[in-house]
């Protein structure tokens, strides 16, 4: 028996050792995510180059970029709108409305984060796409789109915060905390470089296939270049880019002003650039894969229950329209007014004082909850370009041409009613400037342009103080850098003056 037992023992011992050794092949420890691409395997195909670009567009309609914080640092900050909603909802927006905010107010933190995320996504795409083996025309276009989107994000940031860190590549771990704010001229130069590259690379709106309607175009790049030139008071350049858009024959004013803000007007003839959204059936119960919160936060609060009711058109805005200007009706949704699609009437909500809403952000009923907003955000309309052209031409001492474009806008607003909005005929430079400024306000009201225009015109202090706001000259022209950024860089980043 003994030999038998010890041979069993030896067999068991050897078998166990062999099995143990065999269980651990060399690649036993090489594990990668299953079902997910990783940074080092991405950008392997044309599709992925497109995906990386699309992800930038997606970011631009997210909460941080276009919801309450965004409205807080645009319309609500300006004389166009009050906070709206019930008195106690979202105190941080009261601070924006009243200029009592400080660097901890979440408005600044959100838009800063939101647009820098968009910049990072564009940076990743711009780093990865050049090496993808793909159709060269498509590659060129995608690079152009990313440069345009990056420039758009920086253009907003520089207008809000002034000097900002310029980041054009994915940062390495040792660069996270060391970024500094860069001189204004360098930020402008970066934006201009990107836009010129985009202008060169992008097709005109009509040259896109129908399925790509909504992507950045040559026209959009020119539009931002014109705005940048206006900001720099480089009026000849601004005039040049505006006229290039006008002469490209890609765009025209819609016959009816209010059609711009209906779903049918999305990406219409007047649209130069929009941030796109769609309401599809939600998979998580609240928001679908194409949604934006832009509409919800401004929607009618009460009955019908369409949203939260922020960004209330101010008394000052309402009274700034010329008599009978139909644009007021198209911009302001009053209690008792029938909704644009006739689906109901706005009922009085006693919790809201002076109830009225931004009609341009109204959307008809759609799948999912209000969170699942389908409305495109109209970033750049042809009317905006025409008024910029008028402004630039007037500054360049060409009132005749300036009047032509100004009156195009008024004519369209007027429609068939010849008793209102007569053509402007004044040719005195200063007087005409005032007329153009006034026209810009009412034409573009509650489309988040007003604050930037006031800054650009150097009128933020006088206008805001005139409406009784606590605006401090030399301070409030720039928003404070979010406190988290100052904290996290241990003071490496300097705060704007007086905050």
């Amino acid at each position: 028996m003994q030999p038998h037992i010890s041979s069993l023992r030896n067999t068991l011992l050897s078998a166990a050792l062999l099995l143990a050794a065999g269980a651990c092949q060399k690649d036993f420890l090489d594990r990668t995510p299953l079902g997910d691409a990783t940074a080092d395997t991405f950008f392997a195909s044309e599709e992925q180059a497109v995906y990386a670009t699309n992800a930038v567009y997606q970011q631009l309609r997210q909460w941080d970029c276009v919801s309450l914080p965004y409205l807080g640092v645009t319309d609500i900050l300006s004389d166009d709108a009050d906070k709206g909603s019930t008195p106690n909802d979202a105190p941080f927006l009261i601070e924006m409305d009243n200029f009592t905010f400080d660097p901890t107010n979440t408005s600044m933190g959100s838009v800063w984060r939101g647009y820098y995320i968009a910049i990072a996504r564009a940076n990743l795409a711009l780093q990865g796409i050049p090496d993808v083996d793909m159709d060269e025309n498509l590659k060129k276009r995608l690079i152009g789109e990313n440069k345009f989107l990056r420039a758009y994000a920086y253009f907003l940031l520089v207008q809000w915060f002034g000097e900002v860190p310029i980041i054009t590549e994915i940062l390495g771990g040792d660069e996270y905390y060391t970024q500094q704010r860069q001189p204004l001229q360098d930020v402008y130069a970066q934006i201009e470089r990107d836009l010129l590259d985009a202008l060169e690379a992008l097709p005109e709106k009509s040259a896109y296939g129908s399925a790509d309607l909504g992507r950045a175009t040559k026209g959009a790049a020119r539009g931002l270049l014109a705005k940048l030139a206006m900001l720099k008071k480089d009026y000849p350049k601004a005039e040049q880019y505006c006229l290039e858009i006008i002469n490209s024959t890609q765009y025209s004013l819609l016959p009816k002003y209010s059609d711009n803000f209906l779903l049918t007007g999305e990406n219409g003839a007047e649209s130069v650039f929009e941030i796109t959204a769609v309401a599809l059936e939600p998979v998580d119960g609240v928001t679908g894969p194409g949604a934006t919160p832009y509409n919800m936060v401004q929607g009618v609060r009460g009955i019908p229950n369409l949203g939260w009711g922020f960004n209330r058109p101010s008394d000052n805005l309402v009274s700034s329209y010329e008599n009978g200007d139909p644009r007021r009706e198209a911009t302001v949704l009053y209690v008792g007014e029938v909704l644009p699609d006739g689906s109901g009437q706005v009922q009085d909500n006693p919790e809201i004082i002076g109830e009225r809403y931004n009609q341009k952000a109204w959307v008809p009923s759609h799948p999912g909850l209000q969170d699942n907003g389908p409305g495109n955000i109209r970033v750049l309309r042809y009317a905006d370009v025409l008024l910029l052209a008028a402004e630039a031409l007037n500054e360049n001492n060409n009132p005749t041409e300036a009047l032509k474009y100004l009156n195009m806008v008024r004519k369209r607003a007027r429609g068939t009613n010849n008793f209102i909005l007569p053509d402007v005929t004044v040719t005195d430079k200063d007087q005409l400037r005032e007329r153009i400024y006034k026209e810009r306000r009412v034409e573009l009201a509650l489309e988040q342009h007003r604050w930037f225009d006031l800054l650009r015109w150097g009128r933020a202090a006088s206008v805001m103080q005139a409406v009784g706001k606590n605006f401090v000259s030399g301070k409030h022209e720039l928003l404070p850098i979010p406190q988290t950024e100052i904290d996290l860089t241990s003071g490496n980043m300097k705060q704007n003056p007086m905050y």
Partner: protein, 999 residues
């Protein structure tokens, strides 16, 4: 092996005693039984004190002895048990109960990949016997350890049914996952939630590097070894039934305003008489009463164990049910355990340790707790028709009716079947060698279900798509360990050498389904349907794989029973790291000196035992990245759709959203331990004192980065260094006899300090409240220290507002912050350190006695030196209710308080300041229990060898300064936010009655 030694001892003692002459005058008989299970102890010696007159107990534990006088005292001893002395008096029957001696030198402790004599151990190991925890009505072993072991700080994760606990061994050693490793019957695990506390034989806590280094890359936070009950060699099987039932409540209510007070406060807030006569509002609704309840808790356990030389078994079945004090929460667990050890022949042994646990948990919407805290008392939960009321008007509340929240979210369940265990084979060869192959497995099949019905309570509490979200998870893990042990004893030397090789693999898979559009709301219709007819049904899933392989070795050497050396090395390779940083080496050594075995100590009368230890070693913490499986690789997120075209079609978008760090490497800690163990006065007083210095470096943690980087999440970095220094002090007095009593205490002062963060920056900010960091982690302070303004007082006059430094909007009656940098304005530069969430001292006391069948135990625990940030109080998105103290002491022109501001809503009174920092110290009567064991003479007729009934209470009394439910709250797992109370599920107190029967 222990058994064998005992048998030898038994025979020797028996021979000795039998050879002694008997000079009997009076006959005493009785039975010696085990305190734990009431079974008879075979071979115990019963000796008349001061004589050589004695006898050995028989197979049933019985004895008969002739004693010389009525003043005789019986001394009963049995190896491994504390000896008992009892005067005979005029009794003819003297039954004696023996309990295991926790101070005994020859006690064997489990040290990982083997056992060691306690006297030979060079590391710091804390031990708790199952009998010290199995009476506690807690759902988990972790909770039951609270206050039991020096250096082991346990904070119940919450009072949620079935909850585990946050366990910190020797301080918080890392900025990330600081949980210890669990080893259950030799099988590595990352939690012990499925273990039935009543199955536990012992818990060993490996605290220092010498002890824990054998677990290398996972030992840095300490190791908790749980050993479940094993079969004992017995003539007859021992069958036991034990059960308890009780009820739980919240420990206290938070004092908030009633309706009349709220009305007054609201009038003050809006500066007008919104409520013309607030006093008519009366009490209103106490929302806490609307969501909390008394909830039952109970357990029933049936077990049996026994065995022979060749086969030993222990088997148990348990059902545990805990309802939650928050409505619609409940936990149920059924466990079955079977442990087998079989000697197939002289050289081959096999065995299994198998546990099956079936759990079901109903999750309540815990957001209702914060909701009830905030909801103004002027609303009622339901109207007269029984419908939930809409409390949003007129204050613009963004929170829903908490009662409706609980009700509509009640269909939320987690279920799991977990099969955990191991199979081993031992082969002995060449006399001194043992080869063991141990295959462990941990299979967890889980399922979740969450159905949200249609409801419309208010505009902010509405669900227009009823929706089912359900899915399954499958977590498979195996470890295969091969170890070879060489064990040899010479006259003056003892040597054990262990070498091993292990491999581990884990795969986690999950699949989920979301469905809306049901053909009705009947319960039987609320399931996923076959795929062909419902376009709203969407699937999701995921899979994660990981693997570790390791080599390990240990040498234990003991010279002349006085000098001990332990040296350990473990090498781990983990798939969580990139190839270049994959391997970690974790060495340690320990030295011991048992001074009482020195010849020059032989005549000492004081010390029964005096031993010194020293150890040093290096450990790793792989689990600091447990929740992020591929931290070195950036994962591309897909589904980021862009919308293009006249049809507004979705266009797939994908990008890198969370940045990664390819250079990530092992987080490492080194630990030095100096300890002394002693036993005095016949080992009645025993103690253990350790000093340690635990230094963690290359700490892996998700560190906040500036938003301009553009990463949605924070990347992991090897950034920081943390030091924990402290003392573990344990003292116990135990006196056995007719009146057995014990009293003990453990004290753990610890200093936690961040030594270094990194070269780029001095601070880590976290816990952002309304955009402002509430904690900072900075060199020289404890992790996650509170950070904010210091309150200087309250603005009393308009002149003060005009002249004193302020933030900007303050008015009379508002908080005035200190201008710390003296620049004349208050701004973010005036924030400073305002408290620490980490206790500087934790302690526990336990005491008890046994007398005439009665037994009494009480446990007390406490912490001090820490603060709590009352974060729930700072949330003011609308008009919420106020706390009583904020109201009673508020500033008004008539009550010019200089500490509590006027009634406001939002604004700078709610900025992060020390106004919200409260003392976190507390002392708590953790448990108190009174039991009675019926005399055997009564129960014997019913063939019951032991019957005990008891009453107990858990968390009966707490002395706390903190105004919230409890200074312990479910936010402790994240060290950066550990001290912030967000109104989570509060811990509870409970009362139970129970019965233990042994057949």
């Amino acid at each position: 092996m222990k058994r064998k030694q005992l048998l030898v001892l038994y025979s020797l003692t028996a021979a000795l005693l039998l050879s002694a002459g008997l000079q009997a005058q009076r006959r005493v008989s009785g039975r010696v039984t085990d305190r734990l299970d009431g079974s008879g102890i075979i071979g115990a010696s019963v000796v008349e004190k001061g004589t050589s007159n004695g006898i050995i107990t028989d197979l049933e534990g019985g004895y008969t002895l002739e004693v010389t006088s009525d003043t005789a005292v019986l001394v009963v001893t049995y190896t491994g048990y504390a000896s008992v002395e009892t005067p005979v008096g005029n009794r003819a029957t003297v039954d004696i109960i023996l309990g295991e001696d926790e101070n005994l030198l020859d006690q064997v402790v489990v040290v990982g990949y083997g056992v060691q004599k306690k006297s030979d151990v060079t590391g710091a190991v804390g031990t708790v016997k199952g009998e010290s925890i199995d009476y506690l009505p807690t759902p988990s072993v972790e909770q039951a350890l609270q206050g039991k072991i020096a250096g082991v700080y346990v904070s119940p994760a919450s009072g949620e049914p079935g909850a585990g606990a946050v366990v910190r061994i020797r301080g918080t050693g890392t900025l990330n996952n600081a949980n210890p490793l669990y080893v259950i019957d030799g099988m590595i695990a990352y939690d012990a939630n499925f273990v039935n506390p009543q199955d536990v034989e012992s818990v060993e806590v490996l605290k220092d590097a010498s002890a824990a280094a054998i677990y290398g890359s996972r030992g840095s936070n300490g190791v908790i070894i749980i050993t479940t009950k094993k079969g004992k060699k017995r003539e007859n099987a021992v069958i036991s039934l034990s059960s308890y039932y009780g009820t739980q409540q919240i420990t206290k209510e938070i004092d908030v305003l009633n309706a009349a007070e709220f009305g007054q406060a609201y009038n003050e807030l809006v500066g007008q008489s919104y409520y013309p006569d607030p006093s008519t509002l009366g009490e209103g609704t106490n929302w806490q009463d609307e969501i909390f309840r008394s909830a039952p808790i109970g357990s029933i356990q049936l077990s049996a164990d026994g065995g022979s030389d060749r086969y030993r078994y222990s088997i148990s079945a348990n059902y545990f049910n805990q309802s939650g004090v928050l409505q619609y929460s409940e936990f149920e667990r059924a466990t079955v355990r079977l442990n087998n050890d079989i000697n197939l022949n002289k050289w081959l042994g096999v065995g299994t340790n198998l546990t099956f646990a079936n759990t079901q948990r109903q999750n309540a919407a815990t957001g209702a707790i914060g909701g009830a805290y905030r909801m103004p008392p002027v609303f009622t939960p339901t109207d007269s028709a029984g419908n939930f009321t809409d409390p949003t008007s007129p204050f613009g509340l963004a929170i829903g009716n908490p009662a409706a929240d609980l009700y509509y979210r009640q269909d939320n369940y987690d279920k799991a079947n977990r099969f955990f265990g191991s199979v081993y084979g031992d082969i002995k060869f060449l006399q001194n060698f043992t080869f063991r192959s141990n295959f462990g497995f941990d299979l967890n099949n889980s399922q979740f279900r969450n159905y949200l019905p249609l409801y419309d309570v208010s505009p902010s509490q509405v669900n227009i798509d009823d929706r089912l979200n359900t899915g399954v998870g499958n977590d498979r893990r195996w470890i295969w360990e091969q170890t070879l042990t060489y064990n040899k004893e010479w006259t003056n030397h003892r040597l054990t050498v262990l070498a091993g090789y292990t491999a581990e693999e884990r795969t986690l898979e999950n699949l989920g389904v979301v469905r809306t559009n049901f053909p009705g709301t009947n319960e039987e219709l609320l399931y996923p349907t076959s795929a062909n007819n419902d376009p709203t049904q969407m699937g999701s899933g995921g899979i994660i794989e990981e693997a570790i392989k390791s080599a390990l070795g240990r040498v234990n050497y003991t010279l002349m029973d006085r000098y001990m050396l332990t040296a350990t090395l473990r090498v781990d390779e983990s798939s969580r790291f990139a190839e270049a940083n994959r391997t970690g080496y974790f060495p340690s050594f320990g030295l011991g000196w048992l001074m009482t075995n020195e010849p020059f100590m032989q005549n000492n009368q004081l010390f029964e035992r005096l031993k010194f230890r020293f150890s040093y070693g290096v450990l790793g913490n792989q689990n600091s990245i447990a929740n992020q499986y591929y931290p070195s690789l950036g994962v591309i997120q897909s589904g980021l759709f862009a919308v293009f075209g006249p049809e507004e079609s979705l266009n797939e978008g994908a990008t890198l959203t969370n940045y990664s760090n390819p250079d990530l490497k092992w987080e490492t800690s080194s630990q030095t331990d100096i300890g002394v163990e002693f036993g005095l006065f016949n080992n009645r007083l025993s103690g253990e004192i350790d000093w340690y210095n635990r230094f963690t470096y290359d700490i892996i943690a998700a560190v906040p980065i500036p938003d301009y980087v553009g990463s949605a999440g924070d990347p992991l970095v090897n950034t920081a260094e943390v030091r924990n220094t402290g003392w573990d002090i344990m003292l116990n007095w135990r006196q056995a006899g007719r009146f057995t009593w014990f009293v003990g205490g453990n004290f753990s002062p610890v200093k936690n300090e961040v030594v270094k963060l990194n070269d780029l920056r001095a601070e880590i900010f976290a816990a952002f409240l309304q955009g402002e960091a509430a904690t900072h982690t900075v060199e020289g302070l404890p992790i996650g220290s509170f950070y904010g303004y210091k309150v200087a007082g309250v603005f009393q006059t308009a002149e003060e507002v005009a002249t004193l430094p302020r933030l900007g909007n303050e008015g009379v009656g508002d908080l005035r912050f200190q201008d710390l940098n003296g620049d004349g304005v208050i701004n973010t530069l005036d924030r400073t350190n305002i408290g620490s969430p980490i206790p500087t001292l934790t302690y526990g006391f336990n005491a008890g006695f046994e007398f005439a069948g009665l037994d009494f135990t009480a446990d007390i625990l406490g912490v001090s030196g820490n603060e709590v940030f009352n974060a729930k109080k700072t949330f003011r998105f609308a008009v919420y209710n106020w706390e009583q103290s904020s109201y009673d002491n508020r500033w008004t022109p008539d009550n010019p308080s200089n500490s509590v501001p006027r009634i406001t809503n939002g604004g700078h009174n709610y900025r992060v300041s020390d106004y919200f920092v409260e003392d976190g110290s507390f002392i708590r009567l953790r448990s108190v229990m009174l039991g009675y064991t019926l005399p055997q003479s009564w129960t014997q007729r019913a063939k019951i060898s032991r019957l005990r009934v008891y009453l107990s209470a858990l968390n009966l009394w707490t002395n706390q300064q903190y105004s919230g439910y409890s200074p312990e709250f479910p936010n402790g797992a994240n060290p950066f936010e550990a001290g912030l109370d967000f109104a989570g599920y509060p811990v509870t107190k409970s009362f139970q009655g129970g019965i233990d029967i042994t057949f």
